[in-house]
């Protein structure tokens, strides 16, 4: 009699397996490849009409965001228009025909920016690197910043005298979750010890401060902020030579969102008229001139 109990169990498993395998239902987000009109903001595909909803994580860190923190925002305020990402977002908004009051910032933790289902933002700008694997799940805008990875260390520690990528191998390295820095450590530095991955900037910085890790791998502009503000007595040991093809940050869109076409047009315009370069000089000027690790 009990055998039938197993049979029921087996049936259950089989049905569940079938559920995962079946369904050829094709109803993927209808990507309207028809020509998108970007000149009138009423034609844009928006969450809320007449409003551009932009996501980013909280705290929003310099040099990507600036200004004095307000209400829900910590460390800095995306509404300020200060800091590179905030400034770029407002410049794009202006190109699309929004004035400053029509831009609404929304707190979107990194992990939520790619969660399946309808997105709570028109686009998300949060130092998210483009990768082909990620682009299968969400859509990325063109590059608004070409980024280099770098390593931050405590002054006076053994790692502080390293000058080559190979020299970093024996050390405890860390990165922040969701950055490409971890992959960079694994693929390029190939350290002998398992690198650490911190769920937040706060944890990563605290571990460096506590000397629980020897080096923190972050993008170069963030590295300069870490050394200037977050970890006293630390320095940018150096930046890594750019990967073939380079790495860039892109804004994240819900897959198939036609708004991307318009944002890309805006970015092209901002690049050709020199605005992007100007904003980089204004907000990320410090992020140059770190020695390149061979």
């Amino acid at each position: 009699m009990r055998k039938l109990g197993y049979l029921a169990l087996a049936l259950l498993v089989a049905l569940l397996a079938a559920a995962c395998g079946s369904t050829k239902k094709s109803s993927s987000g209808s990507t309207s490849t028809a020509a998108v009109n970007c000149s009138n903001k009423n034609d844009l595909n928006l969450k809320t009409t007449d409003q551009l909803t932009i996501g980013t994580d909280n705290p929003a860190f310099p040099p990507w965001f600036g200004g004095t923190p307000h209400k829900p925002w910590q460390v800095s305020d995306p509404n300020s228009g200060q800091g590179y990402e905030s400034a770029v977002a407002y410049a794009v908004a202006k190109q699309l025909g929004f004035d400053k009051s029509q831009v609404v910032w929304k707190h979107v933790p990194f992990a939520n920016s790619y969660a399946p289902g309808p997105k709570p933002f028109d686009f998300d700008i949060n130092q998210i690197s483009f990768t082909p694997a990620r682009a299968k799940v969400v859509d990325f805008s063109d590059s608004y910043y070409d980024v280099n990875q770098s390593v931050v260390v405590n002054k006076g520690t053994p790692i502080a005298s390293v000058t080559t990528v190979a020299g970093l191998k024996p050390y405890d390295l860390g990165a922040q979750l969701g950055t490409t820095s971890y992959q960079f450590i694994k693929d390029t530095i190939k350290p002998t010890k398992q690198p650490s991955v911190f769920p937040s900037n706060t944890g990563a910085v605290q571990a460096l401060k506590n000397k629980q890790i020897d080096g923190l791998v972050v993008d170069l502009p963030t590295a300069f902020y870490v050394t200037a503000v977050e970890v006293p007595n630390s320095k940018v040991l150096g930046q890594f030579p750019a990967e073939p093809g380079g790495e860039h940050f892109g804004m994240v869109f819900e897959k198939g969102n036609s708004l991307r076409t318009c944002v890309n047009q805006a970015l092209t315009e901002l690049r050709s008229n020199g605005t992007l370069k100007q904003l980089q000089q204004k907000w990320l000027a410090k992020a140059t001139g770190a020695p390149i690790l061979k």
């Binding site: 009699m1 009990r2 094709s26 399946p116 971890y182 769920p199 506590n210």
Partner: protein, 292 residues
């Protein structure tokens, strides 16, 4: 038990029924089983149809149930899972000892022991009251920040200390329940035989108490095994953090399913073992006419 004339009289059937735990078919017989099968099939069909016809299913299927994602992330996660198991095994030993000390302190009688009792109560209130993830973050980032010589910086070490502190709070309560379930006459009898208070505790009360609480103890260890994932807060790459890494690299969640499968592979056998021990214990007590 024997001679009731039902299926329970067959020891083999009984063994399997214990293993299967909740799968009871009440109105037994072929008809009962047929009804159970049919209702299971109908229930599952409804669930599957509801899920797969939902608007978001194609996207969920792609991001969660992509076999390529699950299988490609599995080896790394399995390697990282070794750390979860190690943390679990080491912490378990310390918890068993430390919690027993707390529980004994808490059950000391008389006004002279009030401070120790109070300490034990405060400890288990705090240990159970603060979220485990906070305890781990506070210890893991806070203790090394003191920069005291001799204080370890290892994050795995501090995460282990955090888990031991928290779980000892729960396990001490389990022990206490066991100690209090031993009838006072047991201690009285032991003392009247000339055993000291400590000897009575050591030789008479604790052996009975601990045997009774083995199932709830195992229950707490199932919880502990799962909570080793909280070590990821400190940046340590264990199974959950490795799954996070894979998820963030591809923006998919197949890696989470791979990690879940590994945890379940340990916790489900533990759960079955617990149920089996409970059933065996119940049977023993019935057979021996319920001692104490």
């Amino acid at each position: 038990m024997a001679g009731e004339g039902d299926r329970r009289s067959d020891p083999e059937v009984e063994r399997r029924s214990r293993l299967l735990g909740g799968l009871h078919f009440e109105g037994e017989g072929a008809r009962g089983v047929a009804i159970a099968l049919l209702s299971t099939a109908v229930f599952l069909t409804v669930v599957i149809v509801a899920v797969t016809q939902s608007a978001g299913w194609p996207e969920v299927k792609r991001t969660f149930f992509d076999w390529g994602d699950i299988s490609s992330s599995f080896p790394d996660i399995a390697r990282a899972f070794k750390l979860n198991v190690e943390i679990f095994l080491v912490c378990e030993v310390f918890i068993l000892i430390f919690a027993l000390v707390i529980a004994v302190l808490r059950s000391l009688p008389g006004p002279a022991f009030f401070p120790l009792r109070a300490l034990a109560i405060i400890y288990s209130d705090l240990a159970r009251g603060v979220p485990t993830i906070l305890v781990i973050a506070l210890l893991g980032f806070g203790a090394p920040a003191l920069q005291l010589t001799g204080v370890p910086r290892s994050r795995v070490f501090w995460a282990g200390v955090g888990l031991i502190l928290v779980y000892s709070g729960y396990v001490a309560e389990v022990y206490r329940a066991g100690i209090e379930s031993v009838h006072p006459s047991q201690e009285a009898a032991a003392r009247s035989l000339g055993l000291s208070r400590f000897q009575a505790l050591r030789r008479v009360i604790l052996p009975q108490a601990i045997r009774r609480v083995i199932p709830p103890l195992l229950n707490d260890f199932i919880g502990l095994q799962k909570d080793t994932a909280l070590v990821s807060t400190l940046g340590v790459v264990e199974a959950f953090n490795q799954a996070n890494i894979d998820s963030a690299a591809t923006f998919t969640y197949g890696s989470y399913l791979a990690a879940a499968a590994l945890f379940v592979a340990i916790t489900i056998p533990l759960a079955r073992l617990t149920d089996w021990l409970i059933a065996r214990d119940r049977q023993k007590r019935q057979a021996s006419g319920a001692v104490a």
